[in-house]
């Protein structure tokens, strides 16, 4: 088949379009930054998750180590069961504590890991035993008012 400049232009067009898609995926999207293929799953129970959502980040020492994959209500304990997918590169001791924290004053909520000192490491399907629930602003204000009232009677 004969080659024409028309084919060249169409080629440039198609390559440009695909390059734009790749650029969107790698530079704009999260495909280049976080890969979930090498991951293991652990879960934890919280009495209150506040505003935690699926896909929220899990951080240890401020470094992103995984994502929340699933949140459901456990009907035996009536607590929130949070399933987390952690990067295989990061191993945590069995007595690691999971806390629900907030980034900034109005930011989104994430799970922070406080690393323990156990020799055994968390494996796929394990449970993170020590958890700290989200801080609910109303509860906090309630406690504050209660302690104020108690203080003023003395």
């Amino acid at each position: 088949m004969e080659r024409t400049t028309l084919d060249l232009w169409v080629g440039i067009f198609v390559v440009g379009g695909i390059a734009a898609l790749v650029m969107l995926a790698m530079k704009v999207g999260n495909l280049g930054t976080y890969n979930v293929s090498e991951a293991y799953q652990v879960h934890a129970y919280f009495s209150n998750i506040g505003g935690l959502k699926p896909k929220a980040s899990i951080k240890s020492a401020g470094v992103l180590v995984g994502r929340v994959t699933d949140i459901s209500l456990d009907m035996e304990r009536y607590e929130a069961r949070v399933t987390m997918s952690l990067d295989k590169r990061y191993q945590f001791p069995k007595d690691t504590a999971a806390k629900i924290l907030t980034s900034g004053l109005l930011g989104e909520q994430y799970i922070g890991f406080d690393v323990g000192g156990d020799e055994a490491m968390l494996k796929n399907g394990d449970e993170v035993k020590m958890t700290q629930s989200a801080v609910v602003l109303e509860d906090l204000i309630g406690k504050f008012i209660y302690s104020k009232a108690e203080g003023s009677t003395n």
Binding site: V14, K27, V28, G29, T33
Partner: protein
């Protein structure tokens, strides 16, 4: 009786609109059925890719750049009030990838390439080229319509992707280089917030749907145009109006299906 007459008019309009929708659907299915030629003789499709895709490149790239720059400027003004200028990248990228990229690129495509397709096919019909093809036992849908259809369907997602990519750089230019938002947080917050499957692939899917709809409307209007100068001009206008409205309505439906506010 003038009242009876106006009722009859309305009825006639509704019936003919439904008739045309049926005709357009049959036309679309026929185009799909006779698509074999446009892949076996791929140079026909390449030629149309040039006139629809490549020729729309400049308008898409320039429009994308300016839309991104406006987003950067307006987004900064709004986000500054909440002290969250660092989220500018998220706003620009999500706005472009989810909505403005597919929609604005499709609107530009409808007025740049769609109207040209309608006018071309309408004139072919008016100068009896299509009748001549039928006389020579060449199927005009396979030879003329199907390559244009596939060229439109292929080029629309590529154009929308380029629009979004250039737009992100437009936002980067205004936000980071001109205003001075922190470059690191611009990109990293964007990457944290934009999901490949949720946002980018859904945007591509949207532009694919828009490409199909715009091209079918443009080709059908051209093929169905009365073979007069007036008829062709009317059909060209109808292409732009109908496909723009179809894009905006479909965009609402697709957005409601894809992003249900989770």
């Amino acid at each position: 009786m003038p009242i009876m007459k106006s009722f009859r008019n309305i009825g006639h309009r509704v019936v003919s609109a439904v008739w045309r929708i049926g005709l357009a659907t049959r036309f679309f299915l026929l185009t799909l059925a006779y698509s074999g030629t446009s892949f076996r003789r791929f140079h026909l499709t390449i030629k149309e890719l040039f006139s629809t895709g490549v020729m729309s490149l400049i308008i898409i790239v320039v429009a994308g750049l300016f839309v991104g720059m406006v987003l950067g400027l307006q987004g900064y003004e709004t986000l500054k009030r909440y002290g969250s200028e660092s989220a500018l990248g998220v706003m620009v990228a999500l706005g472009l990838v989810r909505e403005l990229g597919p929609v604005v690129a499709a609107l530009l495509f409808a007025s740049r390439a769609g109207s040209a397709m309608t006018a071309e096919i309408g004139l072919m019909k008016a100068t009896e080229q299509i009748t001549a093809m039928e006389m020579m036992a060449v199927n005009p849908i396979a030879r003329i319509v199907a390559p244009r259809f596939w060229a439109g369907v292929i080029s629309m997602p590529l154009l929308a992707a380029m629009f979004s990519a250039v737009g992100v750089f437009g936002g980067y230019f205004v936000g980071v280089i001109q205003i001075g938002v922190d470059e690191g947080s611009f990109w990293s917050q964007m990457q944290a917030a934009v999901d490949f499957r949720e946002d980018i692939l859904n945007g591509v899917l949207k532009s694919f749907v828009f490409g199909t709809v715009v091209t079918v409307i443009a080709l059908f209007e051209g093929y169905d145009a009365p073979p007069t100068a007036e008829g062709v001009s009317g059909a060209t206008t109808r292409t732009v109006v109908t496909s723009s409205l179809a894009i905006l309505m479909l965009d609402f439906i697709l957005t409601a299906i894809m992003f249900r506010g989770n």
